[in-house]
C-alpha cells in the first residue's frame, strides 16, 4: 500500500515536472512529427541538440528500435543522423555535438572513458569518397543533413572555406579541417568531382537538400 502511494506520488511529481518544462513540452511534438511512423520512447534535449530512441515495425511486422540525433537549425529541427544500434559519445562528436553537450547526454559515463572516446575521433565522416564512387544504393539511406555535409566534406578536405555560417562553424570544429586560402577545385580528383555531382543530383532528384554548399 505504502509502495503504491509512493509510486503514485513519484509519477505525479514526474508529470508535473514534465508539464512545467515548457521547453520539452514544446519541442517534443515537433521532434515526434519528424518520425511519423515511429514511436518516440525516449527523448533527451540539451540546448539545440536532441537524442531520441524510436520504435517501429518493419514491412514484416518485426519490431525495431533506432536512435536519432537532431539539431535545431535556424529555429527548425533537422535530423542529422538516424539508424539502428548505439549512438556513443564519439558518434555524436563526429556529427558536431560539442563536448560540453555530450557530457550532459551521457552523465553516467566516466570522464576517463569520455576522454578516451573523444580524443580518438577526428577523421572525416566519409573519407572513402576520395577513392570510391557513391551511387543511389548508398545515398538512399542518408538524411538531407548527411547528404549536404558529405558533399561539403569533399571540398572541405581540400581546404575550401565556406560562406554559409552553419557549414563554416561545423567544419571549423572538425579536428582535421584546415581552411586553405589557395583552395582550388582543381585539387579534387575525378572520383571526388564525380561523387560531388552524384550527391548533388541525388539531392535535387529527391528533394533532399539541407542547405546549399556555399
Amino acid at each position: 500500500m505504502r509502495d503504491s502511494i509512493c509510486r503514485l506520488l513519484l509519477f505525479t511529481l514526474a508529470l508535473s515536472l514534465y508539464l512545467a518544462s515548457p521547453v520539452l513540452a514544446d519541442e517534443k511534438p515537433q521532434l515526434s512529427s519528424m518520425f511519423p511512423h515511429l514511436k518516440v520512447i525516449n527523448l533527451r534535449l540539451e540546448s539545440e541538440w536532441s537524442v531520441l530512441n524510436l520504435r517501429g515495425k518493419d514491412d514484416n511486422e518485426e519490431p525495431f528500435e533506432i536512435m536519432a540525433l537532431c539539431q535545431k537549425v535556424d529555429g527548425k529541427w533537422v535530423v542529422c543522423v538516424k539508424g539502428g544500434g548505439v549512438f556513443d559519445p564519439a558518434l555524436l562528436s563526429d556529427y558536431g555535438v560539442p563536448d560540453s553537450t555530450i557530457r550532459k547526454f551521457y552523465p553516467s559515463v566516466k570522464e576517463e572513458k569520455l576522454q578516451q572516446l573523444l580524443s580518438g575521433r577526428g577523421d572525416p565522416l566519409w573519407e572513402f569518397t576520395q577513392t570510391m564512387p557513391v551511387g543511389a544504393a548508398y545515398l538512399q539511406f542518408l538524411t538531407p543533413w548527411q547528404l549536404t555535409m558529405m558533399r561539403a566534406e569533399i571540398f572541405a578536405r581540400h581546404g575550401r572555406s565556406f560562406e554559409d555560417p552553419y557549414l563554416k562553424a561545423y567544419f571549423s570544429s572538425r579536428p582535421w579541417y584546415k581552411a586553405d586560402a589557395q583552395y582550388s577545385s582543381e585539387s579534387l580528383s575525378s572520383v571526388e568531382r564525380e561523387n560531388a555531382k552524384s550527391i548533388s543530383d541525388f539531392q535535387t532528384a529527391n528533394g533532399l537538400l539541407f542547405r546549399a554548399v556555399r
Binding site: 518485426e62 519490431p63 539502428g84 578516451q116 580518438g120 577523421d123 573519407e127
Partner: protein
C-alpha cells in the same frame, strides 16, 4: 574448387537447424567459438567438425600459389595438363573438373572471400541456440563483441547490451572472420551509421539477392545481419524479441533491405 564450395554450402544448409532438431544447449568450452551449442551441431569447432573447411582453405592457398607461379611465368602447363580439353574420356572415368580461371585475380580473391563468408556463418550460427541466448550474455564469448555496459545513457533502458547490439554483433563476426577493420581504436562500429560507411570504405558493395552468398551482409536503416544462405533467404543476427523487449541471437528468414558483399560479382 568451386564445386568444393558448393558442396560445403549444400552440406551446411541441408542440415536441420538446432531448433528444427530440438537441439539442446550443452556445456560450453573455453573456446569462444564453441560457446552456446552442442556436440551434434554441424560445425562445433575448428578442431572437430571443421575439416572440410580447412581442406578447402588449403586448396585455396595452393591455387593462389599456382596463380603466382603462373603469373611469374612458371609452370603454366600444370593446369593445362590436368584439365586439358584434349584429354580423351574413357567410359566409367570420372568427368573432368571444370577448368579453374587461375589467371583471374578476381577468382582467387573471391575464393578466399567465399570461404571467409562461410566462416562468418559458422561462427555466427554457433551462437544460435534453443532457447535463443540473450545477446548481453554473449559478451566475452563472441570474439570482438564490445561490452557496452559503460554506456548506460546510450539507450533508454539503461543498458545497450540488451537491446541495441545488432551492429555490435555483426561487426564482431565480420571483424573476426572477414577482416573488417576499425577506423581507429576509439571508434567502434556499434551503430548502423558507423558500420555502413566502414563497409563501403572497405570495398563492400550492393548485390542482388539471387547473387547473395553466406557471409554477405543484410542491411537496412535500422538493422544489420549476416546472410546465412545462398540466395539470401536467411540471416543471423541480434534480433529484438517483441515479447521480452531484448535482443537474442537468432537465424530467421530474410527479405527486403540491401545486401552487401565484398566478393567481385562477374
Amino acid at each position: 574448387m568451386a564445386i568444393s564450395f558448393e558442396s560445403h554450402i549444400r552440406h551446411h544448409h541441408n542440415r536441420p537447424s538446432i531448433q528444427q532438431r530440438g537441439g539442446k544447449q550443452q556445456s560450453s568450452s573455453a573456446n569462444p567459438i564453441n560457446q552456446g551449442h552442442g556436440q551434434d551441431l554441424f560445425v562445433n569447432s575448428r578442431d572437430s567438425g571443421f575439416h572440410d573447411f580447412n581442406a578447402a582453405k588449403t586448396l585455396g592457398q595452393r591455387l593462389q600459389e599456382l596463380g603466382r607461379q603462373q603469373r611469374a611465368g612458371g609452370n603454366s602447363a600444370m593446369f593445362g595438363q590436368q584439365v586439358g580439353e584434349d584429354k580423351v574420356h574413357v567410359r566409367g572415368e570420372a568427368p573432368l573438373p571444370t577448368p579453374v580461371p587461375i589467371n583471374d585475380p578476381a577468382f582467387l580473391n573471391n575464393n578466399n572471400r567465399e570461404m571467409q563468408g562461410l566462416e562468418s556463418v559458422i561462427l555466427a550460427r554457433s551462437f544460435v541456440t534453443n532457447p535463443p541466448t540473450r545477446i548481453d550474455k554473449l559478451v566475452g564469448k563472441v570474439p570482438n563483441l564490445k561490452d557496452l555496459s559503460w554506456c548506460k545513457d546510450c539507450t533508454y533502458k539503461g543498458s545497450p547490451n540488451t537491446n541495441n547490439m545488432c551492429a555490435n554483433f555483426a561487426t564482431a563476426i565480420l571483424t573476426t572472420t572477414q577482416g573488417l577493420k576499425m577506423q581507429d581504436s576509439a571508434v567502434d562500429y556499434i551503430s548502423i551509421p558507423r558500420i555502413r560507411p566502414a563497409l563501403k570504405a572497405q570495398g563492400w558493395h550492393s548485390v542482388s539477392r539471387d547473387k547473395a552468398m553466406p557471409g554477405d551482409v543484410w542491411l537496412s536503416d535500422s538493422h544489420i545481419e549476416i546472410i546465412s544462405t545462398k540466395g539470401g533467404t536467411h540471416s543471423i543476427g541480434s534480433n529484438t524479441d517483441p515479447q521480452r523487449g531484448y535482443q537474442y541471437v537468432t537465424e530467421r528468414p530474410r527479405s527486403g533491405g540491401t545486401i552487401l558483399t565484398r566478393r567481385t560479382i562477374r
